[in-house]
């Protein structure tokens, strides 16, 4: 899985590309957390438009990041998940907890 960062105001945008599973999640998690600490940002935007596969490891990763962002009073947004990924987000109730920009 490939991860690229950009900034939109006080939000860190994470463009994730490829397959998000247990194997890829640990490195992605580490990269996002490091970047989020280093940048002068408050909010986190996860762009999932190029994520081609995600299982419950992705749910864990998203909820884990949400906890960190909420802790500092920031907000989290999920951007453009593909239909298959929307299904798993809906199932895990992430949709009720995190704003989704389809």
């Amino acid at each position: 899985m490939d991860v690229r960062f950009s900034r939109e105001g006080n939000s860190l945008v994470v463009m994730m590309e490829g397959e998000l599973d247990h194997h890829t999640a640990s490195r992605v998690r580490e990269r996002i957390d490091n970047k989020f600490l280093m940048e002068p940002v408050k909010n986190l935007i996860l762009d999932l438009s190029r994520v081609t596969f995600m299982d419950s490891a992705g749910i864990g990763l998203i909820l884990g990041r949400m906890n960190r962002v909420t802790l500092i009073g920031g907000k989290m947004l999920i951007r453009k998940p593909k239909p298959e990924i929307q299904r798993i987000l809906r199932m895990s109730r992430i949709e009720e907890l995190i704003e989704l920009d389809a």
């Binding site: 247990h22 194997h23 299982d55 419950s56 749910i59 990763l61 909820l63």
Partner: protein, 142 residues
């Protein structure tokens, strides 16, 4: 019922094999010409079962995971087996959000995903001996 086709593969409990297992099961099912949604569901369910075998069944140890796919006229049966530590309370393990590894940022949704994405799910487990997950998915042709 007579199976049309069958395959069995075994691999080490390394996380790199999670994507391998998904691809193998999806390609096997593809011979029945299922819809993209059905293939996506199979990929996700296999990923959950194999990941569980790797992180919960074996953990720090290394062991063998066996993936078996059997094709019947209108469904596929997928079995994922490990010979690791087993599950003490299967009913509890199936509860949504239940996880024994919150430290690993697991969400406790794996069995719920398998149950939702597949048509049937059976869990057979013995503490100290291992776990066998059997799932089926109907293959409606396009």
């Amino acid at each position: 019922m007579q199976p049309i086709n069958k395959m069995r593969t075994e691999f080490l409990s390394k996380s790199a094999n999670e994507s391998f297992a998904r691809v193998v099961a999806a390609s096997f099912a593809a011979q029945a010409d299922p819809s993209i949604e059905v293939v996506a569901d199979i990929r996700t369910a296999v990923s959950e079962a194999v990941t569980n075998a790797i992180i919960h069944g074996y953990g720090e140890e290394e062991g063998t995971v066996v993936l078996t796919c059997v094709l019947y006229p209108d469904f596929v049966e997928i079995t994922v087996e490990d010979f690791g530590k087993g599950i003490e309370d299967v009913e509890k393990a199936k509860t949504p959000l239940f996880t024994t590894r919150p430290d690993l940022e697991r969400s406790g949704m794996g069995f719920t995903v398998m149950e939702t994405f597949m048509d049937s799910l059976e869990i057979e487990s013995r503490v100290g001996q291992g776990t066998r997950i059997r799932m089926t998915k109907e293959l409606k042709s396009r």
